[in-house]
Symmetry: C3
Amino acid sequence: MIFLFTDFGAADLYVGQVKGVLAERAPGIPVIDLLHEAPAFNVKASAHLLAALAERLPRGSVVFAVVDPGVGGKRDAVVVRSDGRYFVGPDNGLLSVAAARAERRTVWSITWRPRTLARSFHGRDLFAPIAAAIARGDFPEARLKRKPRLAASFGADDLAEVIYVDHYGNAATGLRASGVSRRARLVVKGTWIAHARVFSEAPQGEVFWYENSIGLVEIAANSVSAAAKLGLRVGQRLAVETA
Amino acid sequence: MIFLFTDFGAADLYVGQVKGVLAERAPGIPVIDLLHEAPAFNVKASAHLLAALAERLPRGSVVFAVVDPGVGGKRDAVVVRSDGRYFVGPDNGLLSVAAARAERRTVWSITWRPRTLARSFHGRDLFAPIAAAIARGDFPEARLKRKPRLAASFGADDLAEVIYVDHYGNAATGLRASGVSRRARLVVKGTWIAHARVFSEAPQGEVFWYENSIGLVEIAANSVSAAAKLGLRVGQRLAVETA
Amino acid sequence: MIFLFTDFGAADLYVGQVKGVLAERAPGIPVIDLLHEAPAFNVKASAHLLAALAERLPRGSVVFAVVDPGVGGKRDAVVVRSDGRYFVGPDNGLLSVAAARAERRTVWSITWRPRTLARSFHGRDLFAPIAAAIARGDFPEARLKRKPRLAASFGADDLAEVIYVDHYGNAATGLRASGVSRRARLVVKGTWIAHARVFSEAPQGEVFWYENSIGLVEIAANSVSAAAKLGLRVGQRLAVETA
């Protein structure tokens, strides 16, 4: 299975071109849109979101992960195998949080270059063919070269920031809920936010935090947009106050 | 075939997680996005829209239908077979209009609970595995229990309200066009709206109603947004005046 | 493979209905969303965008192309085979740029009408069944009639206008970059725009033009939205000044 995680825009004309390449080169392999609205100019937030999502994907999955503001510049193109999942994307930190948290990881530089390579769209021309080859079980050894580690890494630690705001207005953070006591409160923009187990537990309109479906601390509100109410955006910093 | 009808957002990160589960558990079964922008906090409008869409789906289809503001609360999780189509979703009224209009229906409560069940995402953890099992022809009897009827039902009647506004600005209502005379006029917010057969029949900018492609009365305007022009939103009530 | 190019809206309820028909009638054939946000009321811009995208699709592909503001009116419904690719859509100019640029083309009128044909949704009821038949290798001769040429054509020439604005705010034009000197400057709304090879070559915030990933001249800016900065929309005219 190939999962796509990008900032290409769900409604834009880039994803279809990538899927055309995958369908040609890895026929019959399911391709699943994980997210195409990853924070475009915040690779660190995207890296934390990717790590949380990827942890739940089947072993053997191929994750095409491209948030790549530096496309056409000097960053390397890489394949990372971590805990049995393959990631294909730029070496700009995007894959680094998932890699740093894995028990085992192997990193390859993509040395191959296609005959036609659009400077602004390595996703279609470079990463998609490599992802397709891996997904169809044809690991492209000859197009790769082992390297000791990723050049850009954000490390394994949590990130005390908003990393994603969904269409309901819930704001996911880079904090893993497993490490945060249910009695702890978040402090964001001067507001104290307590824990609630489920939406229906909180009075209507009240802001609370809970463990979201990918294991992260998320700020939400019952029936209203927490992000609008508190003015939250990706990159907003926050603190955890333990009781 | 599995059809998805949700309020998860077409561009958000929820649909992909559901599709990951379906691809793993029902490999080779086509999964089709019917709509992911169903009216999020208006289950009744969503129920009417689902009923109109579902009527046109092939018999044997599985419809994963989740608009579920009460997720994590006390509402039941159900499977409904109506006229040969299977619906999987919450027992909050969402499936009830389609069920009430069917000639035959059978209702099951989903008694099974997965080992890991995110309180905020039954779609991925509970409904998707059940939908996958049905779609691959492996009806999960042991995980279900017959119940006499849905607990929450809006009934079979039409709904004289706007139930959906599309990206062109056309406003679909919960009125089935088969029951409305072409000579009738709609009255909405003090405006009288006459019938036109096709867009090109109405003068540019003029608001009219017509039978849309899923059999509903829809308010539209030639080359402009009827919803913007009249200030229409989901839930707006209207009346039918017969000549 | 079937590629979809429409103005149906990526988040709206139309694409899923088309895919339902394709999945039923062309089972196992991959269906890929190329774009569903084609400029809705600008068939000419859409035609130029389609031509640029289609050139890169595999031979043998079927392109379901529907931007059809005159649906239900008098325009013909057609199939065009050009350079080994099949296009199915309205004869309103949409397919004409791709056709005019092809070395060989054959045009058929779709004479068949389905039993149920929604006046506002030929995409689902008329074009999808024809596209499905072609894609499964069952060319529907009996439902078609050769015609000498398309009734509506914009010709093969470039279009000196903005034809698409993507979600990053980059504005693609109908000019093919292969015909424009890298020393040429664009003039748009009184602003002179020079060429840059890659984004990172331009100072942050500066507007430049470059060859985009489908071979078109595109106006962009490093880290900001060029469209917002210059107030660009689809249809904006521009000129090329050669040094």
